[in-house]
Symmetry: none
């Protein structure tokens, strides 16, 4: 049922993902949904929660990689994985932003536990200590900006890519931009 929900949200959008459609896609009766989840929102929250788990699990390992390989490779690897894992979640995140009904309950409540932003910030901070990240940048803000790019790029563009010359940046592009900067260094 969760799989059916995720598939439907991805394929037809949150607005079209009715309980009837979910039940049909899951091959169960509509009433069966309510034996497993208290209501429709509960089902969606369960879907988000289940999809979110591996992301956090994976992000937890990130700080330990400070110092290994290169910063660019670590970030590209990290963000690429996050992007893959989040691909199915973005429609839900959009739905939660669109429909305040979904944003109420428990799932997001665990504000206490750290998530990808915190782990990414920890990683950047660790790299900073060993001199691979500039000392004067704020690791938390940098982490948030990186994740903002991730989210911004994950959202399907309304304008076709062709209009932009066909060069839609990928995560590696974004990471290199932010690592190297686009401005000419002062003093050159």
């Amino acid at each position: 049922m969760i799989n059916a929900t995720i598939r439907l949200v991805r394929e037809v959008g949150y607005a079209q993902t009715t309980t009837r459609a979910i039940a049909q896609a899951a091959g169960v009766a509509e009433g069966t949904l309510y034996r497993h989840y208290p209501d429709k929102a509960g089902l969606f929250v369960a879907a988000i929660t289940r999809q979110s788990a591996p992301i956090t699990v994976w992000a937890r390992e990130l700080p330990a990689r400070a110092g290994s390989a290169t910063v660019a490779d670590n970030l590209i690897d990290c963000l690429t994985r996050l992007a893959d894992l989040r691909a199915d979640i973005v429609p839900f995140e959009l739905a939660m932003l669109t429909d305040p009904e979904l944003a109420r309950p428990a799932a997001t409540a665990r504000t206490s536990e750290p998530g990808p932003p915190e782990f990414l910030a920890q990683y950047l901070h660790a790299e900073q200590r060993i001199g691979r990240i500039r000392a004067d940048v704020d690791p938390v803000k940098t982490a948030v900006v990186l994740l903002a790019v991730l989210f911004g790029l994950a959202v399907p563009p309304r304008r076709t890519t062709e209009a932009l010359g066909g060069s839609w940046p990928d995560i590696a592009d974004a990471v290199h931009l932010i690592l190297d900067g686009v401005g000419v260094p002062v003093g050159d």
Copy 2:
């Protein structure tokens, strides 16, 4: 009616913005909506279109500013204005991503005309020619990444800011990060 629509989407969310609510907020009868717009989606598209116009108008002036002031100031100025103008549009953009019903019609049709991404890319390209932007970066990709950050930061975070140390980056932070880079320059 468009104003009422925009206000309602901002205040109560897209999901709660019913035709009845729009009519009431606009001080007209429900049926009157259909004298001016073919259907609800048409009204929303009209609202997006009207709100988008000043953004494009403003972005058009951007390339001409190449060389003046500093790159950082120009970008911060540009992106801050874009952010202000888009504040009312983001809920609609989210709604269009959530409800494919909205994404169908005319609004996206005008792919031919250039929009903010193109103008921002043109600006970056112009700065590149006069040596204020590194020569080896792709102006289009950079423009897209900047706008992705803009969108990513505009979306209200689900995790409270406090959990992140209270330092949610603003546009100036993001511009400086991307201009200067966070990595230690090779050769330092």
Copy 3:
């Protein structure tokens, strides 16, 4: 729609009186019900309220009849009318006792205004003052007992009347019993 509701409750019972049945009986669409009443309970309360009005109006005249005709005639007349008027209300009263959902709202809230019990008690009290009712009875309790009989007799008996010898008492019977008493007066 109120008429349809009253008719359906009388004919098929409260439990079977669904919004669909009401709409169909009223010859309107189901959604139309909600243009006139906030919800199903509101419709029922409106039906009860409308049917109750003439009863109270009529009972109001009762105290003024003290002294005229005979006590028995006045009571029989009064209670018979009340019974007629309440015939359509009894199923609703039963429904309100069965389904606590109905008992919540405003309709019954006007506890301040006097109803049939008060007027009946006033009448009995007036008759008491002119010596046509025994001085040692409590007019209020007597009024309540009379109305309790009325309600008890209005409820359709589960046992068929035949089993009881075919003599189901009518209101006149009950009034005479209560006026004259069934016991042999002490001292006779």
Copy 4:
């Protein structure tokens, strides 16, 4: 299971007494209900039947009490016990009046066997023969009126008692009213 049914009907009302609630209250699985009773209505009828039994048993002794003690004491005693025993049944009786689904099956079938009305009528008739009840009253009608009062007083009043001066009659009040009458005897 019957006990659970009775308790639930008393506590939460007939409308809220679902099969799931009954099963949970009885500590059995929902499907188990259907091993013992053909359907939900069958379970309710069984509950009514079982609760009704002691009432009839007790009422059977009533006629034999004619001549003993006083009529008032006998009636008050009888009706008080009936009221106690019926307290748990009244909600069911109301439910059966509200939901014709319940009124169909076996329970009403045993019209042949005498019940409280018959025994009460027999008692009154016996008292009549020994001159403690007026000779000109119909014992059956009187029994029905007494039971109607019983039922009418058992139904919780919708108007608060305070509005009526706080004097809600009890069974003794009602018995005395009906025995002695409220009218001034002709010839006084």
